[in-house]
């Protein structure tokens, strides 16, 4: 009798363990815990979220939730009134980046040390919701510098677990999970808890299908790099800007101290001032007009042919893009690559290795491109 009850206990314990595993998502597992004040004296401003998803989303709630999470994690965030005053005074409407003037104004008038810029890439509040966010922290001052960057793409069926107990059907829950991950990662970085996110090994499936690298690409490690929005040939609006963020994220994630990545807001400001309209790519004249004043050594851009997400459970995201890097000094192409993948490319059995969002795929593909660019395998 006792042996039977012992077996039942074991079975119950095993079931409970399985249930617990089913509910946990990979994002949560990666979240870092942070306690105590983060970098004492560092004051942050949280910019309104830039909506790249072309869908209606609760941006205000997301921003407030992000601010609350950062405050809970010990990060000092300036209040909305102070930020609104500066934004109003300088007529700041674009919140997808920060230019030199805005950075200086925030530093001098509101005492802000860094700005958190968040972009909403995907928002599908269906029965199986999907969300993708990218956030970066940019230091204010004479030349804005990216301190930290992270992105996350989540779907309600990322970790369905046993009997579908891990499925998330509430978009609010998924949104909170994504914001918690980003806030945790930022707080962890500010607490000096190591790297932004490890570049890691690029999955073989997501490697670029073709690539070219010149000898000059080695100079990238000691250069100043600017990324221009990708030329968008896809049906997804603002896919060019989304790919720019993923590329930037991986460049920053490499954590090469000698390489400086220019904040895209600064490049945008220069392009607007010089009345530069990108016509299917960057020309040599554009390289000089933007590159010389910003002391940029390499420009990167590309083309997006497909950037597709799918609603619901059935389907696979599709990402197809090419990248190109040009040296400012000698006006030569230093890097060219072409990548295309579907979300189920790495699946061999039972949906293991399936990616549910184009954001997660783009991240994996871009990581592979950047790793290959730096000559790592």
């Amino acid at each position: 009798m006792s042996s039977v009850s012992c077996s039942i206990k074991k079975i119950l314990l095993f079931s409970l363990t399985l249930l617990a595993c089913a509910g946990s998502a990979p994002a949560e597992a990666r979240q870092q815990s942070a306690t105590g004040p983060a970098m004492p004296g560092l004051r942050l401003a949280v910019f309104p979220i830039d909506n790249l998803s072309s869908a209606s989303a609760p941006l205000r709630e997301m921003r407030l939730s992000m601010m609350r999470k950062l405050l809970d994690l010990g990060v000092e965030v300036i209040n909305d009134e102070s930020l609104a005053k500066v934004m109003e005074r300088h007529r700041i409407r674009y919140t997808g980046g920060i230019d030199i003037k805005t950075a200086q104004a925030l530093k001098n008038e509101a005492g802000v040390d860094a700005v958190l810029i968040t972009s909403l890439e995907l928002y599908l509040p269906d029965n199986l919701p999907k969300i993708a966010l990218t956030a970066r922290l940019v230091a204010t001052g004479p030349l804005p510098e990216i301190i930290w960057m992270e992105s996350i793409g989540l779907a309600g069926d990322d970790a369905p677990g046993l009997l579908g107990l891990g499925l998330i059907s509430d978009p609010q829950k998924l949104q909170e999970r994504a914001l918690r991950y980003l806030a945790g990662s930022l707080a962890g970085h500010l607490h000096d808890r190591g790297k932004n996110h490890p570049a890691g090994m690029a999955a073989k499936t997501f490697r670029p299908k073709q690539f070219y690298a010149s000898e000059d690409i080695a100079k990238l490690r000691k250069g100043r790099v600017a990324v221009i929005p990708f030329f968008n040939e896809s049906s997804r609006t603002r896919a060019g800007e989304i790919l720019l963020l993923h590329f930037l994220n991986q460049l920053v994630g490499m954590e090469i101290e000698t390489m400086k990545v220019v904040e895209p807001g600064v490049v945008r400001e220069k392009m607007l001032n010089q009345r530069i309209i990108m016509n299917r790519g960057v020309s040599y004249r554009d390289l000089d007009l933007i590159g010389i004043p910003l002391e940029v050594d390499f420009f990167f851009t590309g083309k997006v042919f497909a950037y597709q997400d799918y609603p619901g459970a059935q389907g696979a995201p599709l990402v197809d893009f090419s990248t190109m890097g040009i040296g400012v000094e000698n006006k030569r192409i230093v890097w060219a690559s072409a990548s295309y993948n579907a979300g189920d490319d790495a699946v061999f059995f039972f949906d293991v290795g399936r990616l549910s969002t184009a954001s997660a795929m783009a991240e994996a593909m871009m990581r592979s491109v950047v790793i290959r660019m730096f000559g790592e395998k």
Partner: protein, 204 residues
């Protein structure tokens, strides 16, 4: 004297029939493969191809239903050409600026004067022009597959002469697809294969 008995005659006839059947099977097996094997290559015997170091890949004329076909193929071609290390390709942004500066009415089919003018602006030795004849899905009975058919020309920058021309067709429905069904290879893989085939014809 050697005499053919009716029995031997019967064996000879049988052997003949078997040979005919084998030959017919071989022809049938080879036909689907031949259907999408190309192609004609023209190469100017007087041209020193080693002198071509920088090329500009012009936008392709697109005769397919897919509006992205031209840009997709051009993009793969540019990367693959660079990857060979044999030629340098002018960046597409710079090419676009050059096309506007030269005032080309139709960049897919430039005139001799336009070729010379554009090559001077871009400091290119030659232009690569081309056309996409077919790009996308083809269906036959229950089988579907992706097919691409393209042709390329190299126009020398100083004289505006066509010095090289080739075409290729890849993909399509083969015997295996007809017999076993299936959707063939993805269009990107087929494009890559076609581009590599045509580059092989250019460089070899």
């Amino acid at each position: 004297m050697y005499k053919i008995t009716p029995k031997k005659m019967k064996n000879i006839v049988r052997f003949k029939h078997a040979a005919y059947i084998c030959a017919a099977m071989l022809v049938f097996a080879a036909l689907p493969g031949c259907a999408f094997r190309s192609a004609d290559v023209f190469r100017d015997a007087n041209m020193d191809f080693g002198a071509i170091r920088t090329v500009a890949v012009m936008p392709f004329a697109n005769f397919s239903k897919d509006i992205q076909a031209s840009e997709r193929v051009r993009d793969v071609l540019v990367t693959d050409l660079m990857a060979t290390g044999s030629v340098y390709v002018v960046p597409t942004g710079e090419l676009s600026r050059g096309i506007i500066s030269a005032g080309l009415a139709n960049p897919t089919i430039p005139s001799i004067d336009e070729v010379i003018k554009l090559c001077r602006i871009l400091k290119a030795d030659a232009l690569l022009t081309g056309s996409i004849r077919e790009y996308g899905e083809v269906r036959s009975a229950g089988a579907t597959a992706e097919v691409i058919s393209l042709s390329l020309q190299t126009i020398e920058g100083q004289s505006g002469r066509i010095v090289w021309s080739a075409s290729t067709t890849q993909g399509g429905i083969g015997l295996k697809d007809r017999m076993l069904g299936g959707g063939g290879r993805p269009i990107n893989d087929t494009t890559e294969k076609a581009v590599q085939d045509v580059i092989g014809k250019l460089l070899n």
